[in-house]
């Protein structure tokens, strides 16, 4: 960053290259696009080569790379790992920025002893933007909340692909909504904020006077508006747990997309040491932890978190809320085919997700939080108090599909609800970085404790050791204990030549060792020479003891 500022200054002095200057100036004030994320990732990797490794795990159908930056030192594949993932839901722009800033803030301290020690025992896998083709719409001339990648799909399953997208009828560069005056419509204006449209309430005497549609034309004249636009598959709907077949945005098959498979293959094959996946997206089990559902957890196809894992979620949620205070969150229930659920149910790891930001509380004159019955009304209340220009006022347009009706275009600007003003991002990123680093400190960690060597008779030696988990996480989640992709803790003993293992296992496995828990191992050895005991798993790190028996 310093270098670019210097270059910028130089350019200004020379008085040339005005275009790069304005772009550069924007970079500090705005969310970063795919190309800016790419250069930031490369810059990080160049600046911290000794502790980073930048890799592209896949290319999208338009040729963009899905980047992952591995951060750690030493035997990085055998230190407990945390995957930090942003932008699986492409319209979640904040997630990409928080993920990238996590890497930047962590590496900014790379030369401190504290961070050096952390990186020598912990590995971070940072994926800043998993669906770049969708996220690009935020930076395009025409902005709308796009979650589909660049794969052409037949979202409405009528035999045609991408045949009915949006049109910017009022020419403002945003796709918002249209309301059409119509007797049969069942939308009406909100009683307290006339900008907001709400469903009619027949019992309350309001039958509704508008149809509410997305901005555009019914290009294929099938009665649905903008139901099959450009692209694509929502990567956050393409993971394998509870895959939503035949739904718009799902693709025909689970894990069909390069983006999805790139992430999956990397996490399964390269990053087997990952013990927790932390993702940014609409799902939220951090400010509010998941609740135990015995029925769902007991089913053959497990669809509720198991009880021990619910306890861990609660522990982590408490830490999140101690670190980050954003007020009451809107509903962030897990969604079919999402990353959050895949990482738990199919990858067997602890999985956490947060939107990273939501509409803050708005206080009235007495300093009390105002009450709202509608998310948009609450958002507008906050935006008004912050002088945010995030609403397009309803204005009449001529609409060829409704030649005899009054049609108005307006509504919340796209991305407003999930994407705070960039000035807020720095603090949000710092607190989320702090949270992730707290989780890292709690990592499962296998040590060989109470190592004892004693004579057990003539030419016989007994070795006893506790395989101890010094972390705050179990060495595997309760569900992960069932899954072969989650490595068990292995304990092995090696003896020198002419030594004989009289009793005890050459190698043994533990499905999981609880936080602060241990398993005692004992061996009876005949003869003299070197004994090596090694215990651990890629998710906990390995610990070794050596002893020479005379």
């Amino acid at each position: 960053m310093n270098i670019s500022v210097k270059i910028l200054g130089l350019c200004c002095l020379i008085g040339m290259m005005s275009v790069p200057i304005s772009t550069q100036a924007q970079n500090d004030n705005n969310y970063r696009s795919y190309s800016e994320i790419t250069s930031s990732m490369k810059a990080l990797n160049n600046a911290h080569k000794n502790v980073t490794d930048l890799k592209s795990v896949a290319k999208t159908s338009s040729g963009k790379d899905i980047w992952v930056l591995t951060i750690g030192s030493g035997d990085v594949k055998n230190h407990p790992g945390i995957a930090v993932i942003g932008g699986a839901k492409g319209s979640h722009i904040l997630g990409s920025e928080l993920t990238l800033k996590f890497a930047e803030q962590l590496l900014a301290t790379a030369n401190t002893e504290e961070t050096k020690a952390l990186l020598a025992s912990t590995t971070f896998y940072v994926f800043p933007q998993v669906n770049p083709d969708a996220s690009a719409q935020y930076f395009a001339d025409l902005k709308y909340e796009r979650d589909g990648n660049a794969t052409s799909t037949d979202a409405d399953r009528d035999g045609f692909t991408d045949e009915d997208g949006f049109e910017d009828l009022n020419g403002d560069g945003f796709i918002t909504m249209m309301r059409v005056e119509n007797k049969t419509g069942n939308w009406t204006v909100h009683k307290d904020d006339a900008r907001v449209m709400v469903k009619s309430d027949i019992a309350g005497g309001n039958k509704g006077a508008y149809m509410l549609l997305t901005e555009g034309r019914d290009n294929d004249k099938d009665g649905d508006f903008n139901e099959d636009g450009e692209g694509g598959v929502n990567i956050n709907q393409n993971f394998t747990f509870d895959f939503p077949y035949f739904k718009p945005g799902s693709s025909e098959n689970p894990a069909s997309e390069n983006e999805t498979r790139g992430v999956l293959d990397f996490l399964f094959e390269e990053a087997r040491n990952t013990f927790a996946v932390i993702s940014f997206g609409p799902e939220n089990n951090l400010s509010t932890p998941l609740k135990y559902n015995r029925g769902a957890a007991s089913k053959r196809v497990v669809s509720g978190w198991l009880s021990d894992d619910i306890d861990v979620n609660k522990m982590v949620s408490d830490i999140y809320n101690e670190t980050i205070s954003l007020g009451k969150a809107p509903s962030g229930d897990p969604q079919q085919g999402d990353l959050l659920q895949w990482a738990y149910y199919h990858y067997g790891r602890y999985s956490f997700s947060t939107p990273g930001w939501w509409t803050p509380e708005v206080n009235d004159e007495d300093g009390k939080a105002k009450k709202f019955d509608n998310d948009h009304a609450k958002y507008l209340g906050w935006a008004d108090s912050e002088n945010q220009n995030s609403f397009v006022n309803w204005t009449e347009v001529d609409h060829p599909d409704f030649p005899n009706s009054k049609v108005e275009v307006g509504g919340l600007k796209p991305f407003a609800l999930t994407t705070p003003p960039y000035s807020m991002v720095s603090d949000l990123a710092q607190s989320h970085t702090d949270f992730i680093l707290k989780i890292a400190e709690m990592k499962p960690s296998v040590e060989l404790a109470n190592f004892k060597v004693e004579s057990a008779g003539k030419n016989l030696t007994r070795i006893t050791v506790d395989v101890y988990n010094g972390g705050s996480f179990p060495t595997a989640s309760e569900l992960g204990q069932r899954n072969n992709w989650v490595r068990r803790v292995i304990t092995q003993i090696k003896l020198g030549n002419n030594m004989n293992l009289v009793s005890g296992d050459v190698q043994s496995f533990e499905r999981s060792i609880p936080a602060d828990g241990w398993v005692t191992k004992t061996w009876l050895i005949q003869g003299s020479g070197k004994v090596t005991v090694r215990a651990g798993s890629p998710m906990t790190g390995f610990s070794t003891k050596e002893q020479t028996i005379k």
Partner: protein, 578 residues
């Protein structure tokens, strides 16, 4: 070969003053045709042995070269080790685009040790090409339909099964190396062919306190003694030693995953479904099949070959999917499956989850669930076939081996000095017996199973335009009514397809007329119709059910020489001029 014979024959026929028909060429070669078998094939092939990868590559290539208008060989992808996965497309290429005809997809050998599906599949390609032109039914079948035939979708491990020591039940997996036991080493403790006969057989050890003894009539057979008696032997499991000295024998074999748990319908991870790999289609072989099938919406039927047990299986694989298979579709499945029981004596038509065991993420559920394709898996070979009797005994295999195979399937017990177990004996059935057909029954099995798939393929939709009629409405308007019939069992859209719009609708269009309005006629006698407002010249139908007719109608204001065209993904493309 045929050409040479033909030349000789021609000379001969001319010599006999045209008294003989050239189609009976083989008479001069010393054979007389048996009914139902190509008696003078252009492609020499024998069906009493198994083809290895080289044999498959050569035979598929020879069929394609001999019949360029009927068979084309392509590779649908590469296996993990880089072998081409060969496919034969069989159809009359001179009668329509094979990719637009209703099609059946056939594969074999997904489980590498279940070898004979490959021969069933290749026999089908061979039989169809050799019979085209000679057998009227087959000629019409290849005019109407396409067969996509992939003899093996697990070529790596098929080769491993044949060339490396295995049991009749291994490897089953593909060959991607996996650390099964999680010790950081990969495939480090495989079974060992201690006696060097190419098969992994069994190990036993003499022990006066043992739980087993030799069968009095068939001493190769080990029998468990009654609970209150001691026997003469310990049974020690499959041939092998503890290669990695970890206190366990044969615990990290080649592979291991199950390619038939790698499909993307109700896929579940390995803690729910053993054998599952990373995610659906995470193996290159299944992915190649999926990619191919996704691009062929004309595939209406599918068949995969497994062994063993004599079963014709349909989904669902698990009770959770019972509601996926609804009544109309089950009727079609039943009609074809029950015919299969008749055609292949000893085979039973079963539902996987109900009659066999649970399978999440299996091939047949994916074909049906994601593509709406009617699909069966046949478990080839059943002990019924040994004595053609349902009155079966545990000694049948030993008796069959003694009196029909003359002992060829058996490795006699022989002594061996085992590093962990000491003095033991090794013996038992070789890998090519128990699951694979014995040679002399293989051709029969291939023909009968092929006949079942031909019945299945025959009943993919066949659309015909029965009627185009016109009525003058006056005022310059005419009413055109077209009746389209599906004359086979299978609908153009399975009910799972109709419910989820998997395939686009069937399109009935009129070309060469000025269309004012279009509609589906729901009851012609009572003139009940449903108008289609958008694009009335191309009427969309969600389905044309099996053995049924649909009626559509246009109101036209111009055109007299028009054509009605039917375009159905699974029913093909047909047209008829007024």
């Amino acid at each position: 070969m045929k050409n040479i014979r033909y030349t000789l024959l021609t000379a001969f026929v001319f010599g006999l003053m045209f008294t003989s028909n050239p189609a009976k060429a083989q008479l001069t070669d010393g054979v007389f045709p048996a009914a139902g078998t190509p008696s003078n094939p252009k492609v020499e092939a024998t069906w009493n042995h198994y083809y290895n990868y080289k044999g498959i590559s050569e035979l598929t290539e020879r069929i394609a070269k001999a019949y360029p208008d009927l068979a084309k060989r392509t590779s649908i992808g590469k296996s993990y080790e880089g072998k081409d996965i060969w496919m034969l497309t069989v159809s009359n290429f001179k009668n329509g685009d094979p990719d637009r005809k209703p099609a059946i997809y056939i594969d074999g050998n997904i489980h590498s040790n279940e070898i004979q599906g490959t021969e069933m599949a290749m026999y089908t390609a061979w039989y169809l090409t050799e019979s085209f032109g000679d057998v009227k039914f087959i000629t019409e079948l290849l005019n109407d339909k396409t067969f996509y035939i992939v003899p093996t979708i697990n070529p790596d491990a098929r080769e491993h099964y044949m060339t490396e020591p295995n049991t009749g039940s291994s490897p089953r997996s593909g060959l991607k190396p996996i650390d099964d036991d999680g010790d950081g080493l990969i495939d480090e403790d495989q079974p060992d062919d201690l006696d060097g006969n190419g098969s992994i057989t069994q190990m036993r050890r003499k022990n006066p306190r043992g739980r087993f003894r030799a069968h009095p009539t068939y001493p190769n057979m080990m029998v468990r003694v009654p609970d209150d008696e001691f026997g003469d032997y310990d049974y020690l499991g499959s041939e092998g030693i503890d290669n990695d000295n970890d206190g366990r024998i044969n615990e990290d074999r080649v592979g291991y995953y199950d390619p038939n748990r790698d499909w993307g319908w109700n896929w579940q991870p390995n803690h729910i479904q053993g054998g599952a790999h990373k995610y659906p289609f995470s193996l290159p072989e299944t992915r190649a099949v999926m990619d191919f099938v996704m691009e062929r919406p004309n595939i209406a039927a599918a068949q995969s070959y497994h062994n063993s047990g004599g079963m014709i299986l349909r989904g669902p694989g698990v009770a959770e999917d019972i509601s996926t298979y609804n009544r109309q579709d089950v009727q079609v499945y039943d009609a074809i499956g029950e015919m299969g029981e008749r055609l292949i004596p000893g085979y039973r038509y079963f539902v996987v989850y109900d009659d066999l065991y649970d399978v999440f993420g299996g091939e047949l559920d994916w074909f049906y669930g994601v593509r709406g394709v009617f699909t069966y898996s046949n478990e080839l070979w059943t002990s019924y076939e040994m004595f053609q009797s349902n009155d079966r005994a545990a000694t049948d295999s030993y008796e069959f081996n003694k009196y029909l195979l003359f002992g060829d399937a058996m490795q006699e017990w022989t002594e061996y000095d085992h590093p962990q177990y000491g003095k033991i004996e090794i013996g038992g059935f070789k890998k090519n017996f128990g699951r694979a057909h014995p040679g002399f029954l293989l051709e029969q099995g291939a023909h009968r199973n092929m006949a079942f798939t031909i019945y299945h393929a025959y009943h993919t939709p066949k659309l015909e335009i029965d009627e185009i009629s016109e009525k003058n409405l006056g005022g310059g308007l005419r009413e055109v009514t077209a009746v389209i019939t599906n004359s086979r069992l299978m609908p153009t859209h399975a009910s799972i397809d109709v419910n989820n719009n998997i395939m686009p609708p069937d399109i009935i269009s009129i070309e060469g007329a000025t269309v004012e309005a279009g509609m589906v006629v729901t009851n012609r006698d009572l003139n009940q119709t449903t108008e289609q407002k958008n694009r009335p010249n191309r009427i969309e139908l969600a389905n044309i059910p099996g053995m049924s007719s649909v009626t559509v109608r246009w109101i036209i204001s111009g055109g007299s020489n028009y054509t009605v065209k039917v375009d159905s993904q699974k029913g093909g493309v047909i047209s008829k001029r007024k």
